[in-house]
């Protein structure tokens, strides 16, 4: 659009001799901008469309195969699923036939052995949308798609799918198993986790005692006794909880849903495996929208399942957020102090110029190099030393001497510190000389002047630097792989267990999650939508962090309303 406007304005180019007019260059610059904008808009659009599509509940289609065409799934003449993609085949047969093919998400991976099926459009005799087809999100093997037959309720016989009772019973029972599943998770994660943490600390105490003994002697009974009795009490407590968890688990499998696949097989599924179900061909537009929002919420708030291809990304989202926050906390004072010295105290000369050039060059070092440095310096040297000094009883199991969120944050802080230094230096240089002199003339010392006048005036500029640093840091993946990111972290870096913020823990990160899903997943077709959704989320998170920082900067600017300096 921009180029079209420019073209109209500049055409025809005035003929005033060779290169005497700048007008063609306007056109060229507009072209450059247009091209850049188009690429960005296309990228963002692609991510938004593909990312949001994941959550939209589409209809399930039943496909009848043409007589004499090549066999469908398990030799059946029909099958069903969600149409994912319509495309032209890569290798096209002779003749004038229809070359398009459909990619169908057929689900029922445990029966078919695959989750997606390609069918030639030419082989399709007809499609229909059976109303009672049901989509079941399961804990394992992805989605199941089928037609319900009956519900076998323990002690209450069988409820056929044709009765009105079927729906109400199914709804209440699925709700019940989901509640029970939450209860089990709470028991295992929170309660048993707390007991495990206590047991670990008791074991460490015992080891400390053993180490303190001279060689050859054992720890006196009098010291061991209280530890052992505490341990026994915990063990008893654990067994009660473990038994309760086991009982709950066995209750999960009491009721069974039977359903028939569209290829004809009959299957049984214990209700305990169902996460969520719906009838995709019966939904009204509003219900569809409700499900769309629900799916997004699940994606944001739940933990991943099945090698990260199902469930949500909450741990990765949270890990990215906490890591970026920690990084900002580390990089700001670090960068601002360095810039203060360079700009305010250091004698401007060759040395300072060299340092400045070096700092700028540091911003161009490949991030993986920072990762390697972080691993060698932070993890092995600093972390290893901390372990030896404070956590020696736990050795050889490392506490801080292995990748962790604090080391990742520090590595990224180191990587982004040049950005903050440069921005801060510029902000400091922009504080008018008159303001500094005014402060000094009031009898302020240099430090008082910096602290009370220069820094507040430079704060918006410093925040700009921080925004740039965050934007770079939050999207970085390569160095993190060396210093603490994992594909599945059992715990969050912050939780209710003392000391609440666990700097030593490994964490999940959206950027790494994208890499892991897209390139390390066993089922790339199932992972693809998640890759888009996660990318969209990562971009949104970075935008939100930036908007937050920009909002803070504008508030500061307003506070110190730009006067006529």
């Amino acid at each position: 659009m921009i180029s079209a406007q420019s073209r109209k304005r500049v055409a025809p180019p005035p003929q005033r001799g060779r290169g005497t007019t700048g007008e063609p260059w306007v056109w060229l610059t507009a072209m450059g901008l247009t091209l850049g904008l188009l690429m960005v808009v296309y990228l963002i659009g692609l991510i938004i469309v593909n990312g949001l599509e994941v959550f939209w509940p589409t209809r399930v289609v039943q496909i009848e195969l043409r007589e004499g065409s090549k066999a469908g799934i398990n030799d059946a003449r029909q099958f069903g699923g969600k149409i994912v993609k319509v495309q032209q085949k890569a290798t096209q047969a002779e003749g004038t036939r229809d070359h398009s093919e459909w990619q169908v998400m057929v689900g029922n991976k445990e029966t078919y052995g695959f989750g997606f099926f390609y069918i030639d459009h030419a082989d399709i005799a007809g499609v229909s949308y059976p109303a009672d087809v049901m989509l079941l999100e399961r804990l394992e093997y992805g989605d199941a798609i089928g037609l319900p037959i009956a519900l076998q309720i323990k002690g209450a016989g069988t409820v056929p799918a044709t009765t009105a009772e079927f729906m109400t019973r199914l709804q209440s029972l699925v709700k019940e198993v989901n509640q029970r599943r939450d209860e089990i998770r709470h028991l295992e994660k929170k309660d048993i986790g707390r007991i495990n943490a206590k047991m670990d600390s008791l074991r460490l105490q015992q080891r400390t005692l053993e180490r303190a003994q001279p060689a050859g002697t054992s720890v006196p009974e009098r010291q061991l006794k209280p530890l052992q009795s505490a341990m026994a009490a915990l063990q008893a407590e654990y067994e009660v909880l473990a038994k309760r968890a086991h009982d709950l688990r066995s209750q999960q499998d009491e009721h069974v849903l039977t359903y028939r696949l569209m290829t004809g097989e009959e299957r049984r599924l214990a209700l305990g495996h169902i996460v969520h179900y719906y009838f995709p061909n019966q939904l009204s537009a509003l219900q569809r929208l409700g499900l769309f929002v629900h799916n997004m919420w699940v994606f944001l708030s739940e933990e991943p399942r099945e090698a990260n291809t199902e469930g949500g990304v909450f741990p990765a989202l949270f890990g990215t957020f906490v890591m970026t926050l920690l990084m900002s906390l580390a990089v700001t004072p670090f960068g601002v102090l360095a810039a203060l010295y360079l700009r305010e105290y250091a004698k401007q000369g060759l040395v300072v110029r060299t340092v400045r050039i070096a700092v700028n060059n540091l911003a161009g070092v490949p991030s993986i190099v920072f990762g390697v440095f972080g691993l060698g310096f932070f993890v092995y040297l600093v972390g290893g030393t901390i372990d030896q000094l404070f956590f020696s009883t736990a050795l050889p199991t490392p506490t801080f001497g292995t990748g962790g969120i604090v080391w990742a944050a520090l590595t990224l802080a180191l990587m982004t510190v040049p950005v903050v230094i440069v921005a801060t230096e510029e902000a400091l240089a922009a504080v008018p000389r008159g303001t500094r002199e005014g402060s000094l003339a009031c009898g302020a010392s240099k430090w008082q002047t910096i602290q009370r006048v220069v820094l507040p005036a430079a704060a918006p500029g410093i925040l700009t630097g921080l925004i740039l640093a965050m934007a770079r840091g939050a999207g970085e993946v390569a160095p993190l792989m060396l210093v603490g990111v994992v594909k599945l972290a059992p715990t969050l870096p912050m939780d209710g267990l003392f000391p609440f913020v666990h700097l030593d823990r490994k964490f999940m990160h959206l950027g790494f999650h994208i890499y892991d899903l897209g390139f390390q997943s066993p089922d790339s077709d199932a992972a693809k939508p998640m890759v888009f959704a996660t990318t969209l989320l990562l971009i949104t998170l970075i935008i939100l962090l930036n908007v937050g920082a920009i909002w803070m900067r504008d508030r500061l600017r307003k506070k110190y309303a730009t006067g006529a300096f």
Partner: protein
């Protein structure tokens, strides 16, 4: 009133001067900016420094609170005595000196803070925490700077929202909040319109009741209006220092005559 201060008219002798400058030479690197200046400035009077651009009047003013320390490569010879204390002596605390010798700059330079915080700045950095004292000082200083009635309802607003003339008066309030002995003014009206200028000039007239004011100005009418004494500097030298009336009516040097009649400068 003048006669009691001026013992003899030629050369001018000031009794009990607040600042006594003797043989002051000032160098930026190897460039000589002030040459052998000797001058005694009267207490609680307004003294104006006039002269063409680059004559060293601002440099001389900035010697009095050692603002020139901030510039690299400067060098001072001679003595400046503030109440018989050499302000360039090594044992002088420059922070203490600047509290006694306040300054108002050519370009108003309020801090990016509230009006209130601007006024109490000098007190805060001196460690005053008592709220009553701070509030009293704000009112007293703003009243003294003839700004109180205009800003009393918005003391917590940013000082940068004031008009230029108000900002300059705020800077004067900031300078007098710490009760200095001397207020240095470096062309305080050059960035202001005529109405704001007349406000400031009225204010200077008030200020000499309690303070010694030394003002650098380009504007000879202003010097004639506000000052009791005037010093004319030219090319780093003090050409003439006398009672303002005399400088403007019967200068004893030809250069002064030429300058005030507008023949150069």
């Amino acid at each position: 009133m003048m006669e009691e201060l001026v013992k003899t008219v030629e050369p001018l002798k000031i009794a009990d001067p607040i600042l006594d400058i003797e043989h002051l030479c000032f160098y930026y690197g190897s460039k000589e900016a002030l040459r052998n200046i000797s001058l005694a400035l009267p207490r609680k009077r307004v003294t104006a420094f006039i002269g063409p651009s680059g004559c060293g009047k601002s440099t001389l003013l900035r010697c009095f609170n050692r603002m020139n320390d901030l510039v690299e490569g400067v060098h001072i010879e001679g003595t400046i005595k503030l109440d018989d204390e050499d302000i360039n002596a090594p044992d002088i605390d420059v922070i203490h000196l600047r509290r006694r010798v306040g300054m108002v700059f050519q370009k108003y330079n309020p801090f990016p803070k509230s009006i209130y915080e601007n006024v109490v700045y000098g007190l805060r950095i001196a460690g005053v925490r008592n709220r009553t004292i701070l509030a009293e000082t704000v009112e007293k200083s703003l009243r003294a700077a003839a700004l109180w009635d205009e800003v009393k309802d918005r003391l917590r607003e940013s000082a940068l929202r004031l008009s230029g003339g108000q900002m300059q008066r705020l800077c004067i309030a900031r300078a007098i909040a710490v009760h200095p002995d001397i207020i240095l003014m470096d062309e305080p009206c050059s960035a202001l319109d005529p109405i704001a200028t007349s406000h400031i000039e009225d204010l200077i007239d008030e200020l000499k009741q309690d303070y010694t004011v030394i003002i650098v100005t380009h504007n000879m009418q202003q010097a004639a209006r506000v000052s009791d004494f005037t010093a004319f500097l030219y090319l780093g030298e003090l050409i003439e220092f006398d009672v303002t009336n005399k400088i403007f009516t019967a200068p004893s040097k030809k250069q002064t005559q030429d300058y005030i009649t507008g023949r150069f400068g």
